[in-house]
Symmetry: D2
Subunit: 440 residues, 4 copies
């Protein structure tokens, strides 16, 4: 039998708290899960530093990847005999679903910004590079790995296939909303996925939703909205991300600009500092390794590095106040100077962080980040863009909301001995009335 058609003699299942069971019958999938590249996802948390806010959120990208695979498997089970669906694409979709996050590194967001990396690039690099994953995919058929990479990269020609993995209502989002809700324990994130799966219909170039399922989709979009603001952008999590970024900045700066000598050479980090990361280097850097160095660096002589690492490891986070960049830019300049006067380096200890989300968007052709809208299939077969049919979605559609916060180490401020200076800083941060109780 051809490898691509090879089935396990009995279906294997993984017990999954979100989808009850993840079912595997294709040997290709089974073999991909067993690769070192896929197993590595166990050492990368799905939500980075979120567990410092929601302690349950310790689940890994391995979990999520299995979940996305399972959702696509169920969708395709429903599509099997439908018009427009070419079942030859089945294995391609399953592989793309399973592997879509393969290139994520530890704390991706911060690492990517500081070291100018891109996890999507690495996902593709792992799939087409010299890896076990590639070896297995090429056994399916020569060129198959490339196709999987193209689906994930959204350049694959069959847009119906692409939309299963990447759209405003794809298997990726449906899994992470539910999974992240489950592990954090928040009550948002519930929607009737079983119903959504049942009303999904393949057409030529996309997956659409039977209009009778509109309310389930509304519910999904509201879940998404709540998860973003309640969980993903939680200001305490952002505080940990701010510190993390600053650690990476500082370490890179020490290595590149200052010629600082670390007590133990940070071998895993060097190619990152030098912004010349090979695939092999990249695959070695998981969260364990990062935390190992952060532990060591707590004992470095550089006070900024050791302080930031100690904060990260022991969750001594920065505090924050709301910040309006339009109105408060002068406050920020003044604070910068006062921090310098106080000997607290503003570059590392006074940070504006911004979060913004666009909960759902209709189609804006030609814009930077085009997003395919969700289409409802009306009883007469015509398509209607979701926000034209749903009041609720219409009301939040295309509206980007942005929040800014200013982060700083309140403990350091409280420890200042120059009371006048301290008071000046606190008055700006908290307003004159409020500052007193925070000072003491």
């Amino acid at each position: 039998m051809a490898y691509k058609d090879d089935q396990l003699s009995e279906e294997k299942v993984f017990k999954d708290p979100v989808h009850r069971y993840v079912h595997v019958r294709d040997r290709v999938i089974w073999d991909l899960i067993a690769t070192p590249e896929f197993q590595r996802l166990r050492r990368i948390k799905q939500l980075g530093t979120t567990h410092l806010t929601f302690h349950g959120a310790e689940h890994s990208r391995f979990n999520h990847s299995l979940g996305v695979y399972e959702i696509v498997r169920r969708i395709l089970n429903n599509f099997k005999d439908r018009e427009h669906w070419n079942n030859e694409e089945r294995l391609l979709c399953l592989c793309a679903a399973l592997l879509h996050d393969l290139g994520h590194g530890p704390f991706s967001h911060s690492f990517e910004k500081v070291f100018k990396l891109d996890h999507e690039y690495f996902t593709q690099a792992i799939i087409v590079g010299d890896t076990k994953v590639n070896e297995i995919l090429e056994k399916v058929s020569p060129g198959f790995a490339r196709k999987v990479a193209d689906v994930i990269g959204k350049t694959y020609e069959d847009k119906l296939v692409v939309s299963l993995i990447s759209s405003q209502i794809d298997a990726d989002r449906m899994d992470y909303l539910q999974r992240d809700a489950y592990f954090t324990g928040v009550s948002y994130g519930h929607f009737d996925m079983e119903r959504i799966l049942r009303v999904m219909r393949p057409i030529e170039d996309q997956v659409v939703i039977k209009s009778t399922g509109m309310h389930a989709v509304e519910d999904y979009i509201m879940s998404r909205y709540q998860m973003y603001w309640q969980v993903y952008f939680h200001p305490v999590t952002r505080s940990a991300e701010v510190i993390l970024s600053k650690i990476l900045h500082r370490a890179k700066h020490l290595y590149q600009d200052v010629g600082y000598t670390f007590k133990l050479e940070p071998i895993h980090f060097i190619s990152f500092f030098e912004e010349d990361v090979s695939l092999e280097d990249y695959l070695k850097l998981d969260e364990s390794v990062v935390q190992y160095y952060f532990q060591l660096w707590q004992e470095e002589e550089d006070e900024i590095l050791s302080d930031l690492c100690e904060r990260f490891m022991n969750r001594r986070l920065f505090k924050y106040v709301e910040f309006n960049p339009n109105l408060q830019i002068n406050d920020l300049l003044e604070l910068t100077q006062l921090f310098m006067k106080a000997g607290i380096e503003p570059e590392y200890y006074l940070v504006v962080d911004s979060s913004s989300d666009l909960p759902y968007d209709f189609y804006r052709p030609g814009e930077e980040e085009e997003r395919l809208p969700i289409h409802l299939q009306m009883p007469n077969g015509s398509l209607k863009e979701l926000s034209r049919h749903s009041d609720i979605v219409e009301s939040i559609s295309g509206k980007k909301r942005t929040d800014h916060k200013l982060y700083f180490p309140l403990d350091k401020l409280k420890a200042l001995t120059d009371n006048g200076l301290k008071q000046q800083i606190m008055d700006i941060l908290y307003g004159q009335g409020e500052s007193r109780k925070n000072v003491n």
Copy 2:
């Protein structure tokens, strides 16, 4: 106000997927949670290697510790005005609950066996030693830290207090059964904790259960039984533990007996290899550090060490067959010789692992591991040991069940080129009929 009575101005809550919310009002508790020693528990998984079997089980001991605290808090809320309960002991109980697992290290079970450690010793050492935790406890009152340690060590004189933390139906067990069930996703582990809490009654020297709550307790004991055999002793998890133990054995052996030179000196491990571990050394060794070394050791020259580490990191586990030590001892001897002949060191690659559990025990005074039985309080006030009242508990009471399995690397066996030798081994492992399909 005295520190011990200091209350936060507003109650703080942690969102918890198992108990919905964990509530903190006492400043002492809040401060303990913020210590480095307690935050370290975030880097130690509650279930060690279980996530290699049940991928959801990635939760940490930090999670569980908060949960135990919360359960005790709820129990004491109910006890507040009850006879026999001295509310002066409240804070002591809460601290003991929160800190009861503080001394756990990474993968405790295997580490303790190989390096002759004891997490209970370290729990006490952290509490009474030179630590932030100790500093906070001593601020409550001099000697308070010692009392907390005694409660956890079961030597505290007020046995009622001890029984809240350690008995056959204590807050510890009630939390982990539910929590581990939640994160693995298995359907065992459900019982009506709210009802159990409501029927708990303090008497002089223990917590007893109003007899009307007997069925809820039965359900709890059955949950425990199922969780042990379905989750905690799962043979795939045991396989990972076997490999883990063998890694530690090998590394220690190389360091102590052979004078092997590691590519990078394993500084975090040396005091472990030498069985002379200070508190400071101990606190530094979390799971990130262990995994960091295991990653490095994949590239060591020693083939056994590198092979075992690669297996652990990439989840290439050993396979297993049932093993009966009474009947199959000769098989084992023969296999040992055949493995040696095949160049596969049996010391590392042929391992018998045994699991055993005693789901509930009545009182056996004087035995090695005395277990306090669960007492029901009958309507007339008299006490009755649970197994005398419950048919189901009676049926499993005092019955120790043990399972033995024999672990080995099937891949290595399949790769043997001496077909006769291979066949001999397989015939013993799988029986003559079955072996053929495993060979191919």
Copy 3:
């Protein structure tokens, strides 16, 4: 001890699937639950005919009433020591919560419209009339029953007390959304009530929400929105309501206008037909009685009455099409004539039904149905109306949505022998293209 302070020797609990347990300690509450007037609520379904659409929705108003009581009990537990809260009002609130739906009759909506009744009137009548409930309340203190009635009637002077029972985020709504979601099994209706309860704050004249809880309130409002359109206004349920109304109309018409003789005198209904219902008559008419008569009436000689009853009992409902009263009024007139020609009385068999909901409203003083808005309490203590702070709520605030549907018995139409007439009717109902498949 005064009756009002009398406590049960042990707390009693009711197992509740929604709130886990309902707790009762006050003897007054315990005694109220045991009255015939309260037990009668077991024979009245919470959602009338909804179980004909969602088969799980068979729960009674008894369930819901206990739930509302329990929520208020929990709120007051939190309020106990808060400023502005006068704990003397506790028992009053609990009684009002428990009894707020006491005057509901079977299938209230239809009965009230046809027989010009008002369940709120009867709630008050039962509380202040010659009933067991009244007897118990008056034992608390003379005039106490009147106070309870006033709280439910919203005329009680302490508006804080009133707002616990009746506002846009009161215990009533929080219970029914969750309970109806639980029993129907829909995935809407989840929100974090525990959090909402924790951020509720009493002020002089109302309950407000700490602004940190805004997202939980948003989630509650979205749940409400979804429950209305997905469950409460489900067109299949409306179809059953249409038939029910028409049964009552027909029976009343036959009795009042025609002098029709029923096979068995409908003694329970006579005062309803005559629109002169005493409290005693009202209390006797529960759902069992109504269904008893509907069963009998299936065998009445009047064909319309027997047909409608048979439809209701055996769930042979009317079909429906969307209807736009502005554009389709002529269609309706034409259909009326065609139905008459076909011998199908349009008065009973061609019905427009309208549903409309206002998911949340800001304050519109002086309007017919004033609704108190939800106020957020900002960190500085000021109040802000919810829709000014929440984008999502703003977007649906004050927007009334109305749906109209036209109901008719498709089976009767299909059975017409005059094919031309049949075709004419179908063309209007379904449009010329679509009608064909419905005819056959």
Copy 4:
């Protein structure tokens, strides 16, 4: 297309709180659900009087019947391509599953005992009699109705088919345990049905369980055990059943033996009193009708009948004490005499009620109520009876447990004016020490 193969153009679903969705594609099933005989099950509660103890338990047999159908549908989906399974039997199984409880009347247990009825007889009578259900089944093929009746009656020749519907682990039990747990809200009743369905295997004459699923089956059996003792045999529910039986006894006695004239002739009951019930009579007697009469009978002149009805309708139940028939038979005789002396008819007011359950039984051929044991299919294909493999099941296997309670109206006893007589009765019921607090 043949009627038996006719499929709905789109799958229809029922939202179900237990199984999420019930799926229907076969027109035969759709048509059966729409029959008056099946719709009638909406007016019969699944758990009779249990809602007087667990207020959530108001769900009907209609609910449960859909659930059993859905489970069988899922099982057969798994069986489709398995050896031993003849897919020709599919529709037969689905119909039998859906209709297996069709003959249940209101409060079956009590009605059957008092009026010597048998719901299994009526199930068959409805299926093969002059009904809509029969009409539809006969359209499938002549004689098909008889086959369905035979499967339900366990006389059908293909024992594999029978065992799906009736065995110690059949779809019926799996549904009711979960459903009754859901609606009562108790935490028992959870087991991993999805896993059990996945390990079910058809063999020639029965459904067996792959041995790897043993623990899920253990969990199911424990659920069953707990549900029986915690829910089904709850003494408060039994109290309501006792009163119900006595109402029926009294009414029958008045009609048959005394020639009593009811205020309104109990037309629906007459054939029951005369023990000559036609199918038509039987189908008319649903719970609404019964409650209608009980309401009327509250105003009958016969004091016993009116008192018992008033108790039932208003939940003024009997109290109970434990009763040991071996030791306390003399107490009972004495109480009987004392009750007579007190003017409280012991025939109606002093009742011993016994509950007993056999949680699991191995095979006892030839015994009165043979129960087919559950067989595990071992890895080598051989079968092993469950209790030989599972310690827990072994421990409760074949052990019948019986409980006896003595019921009486405590209020009537308290109201006795002869204090000596009252004291004598109370001393026997509660023991000399305890009686005092119950008297006052």
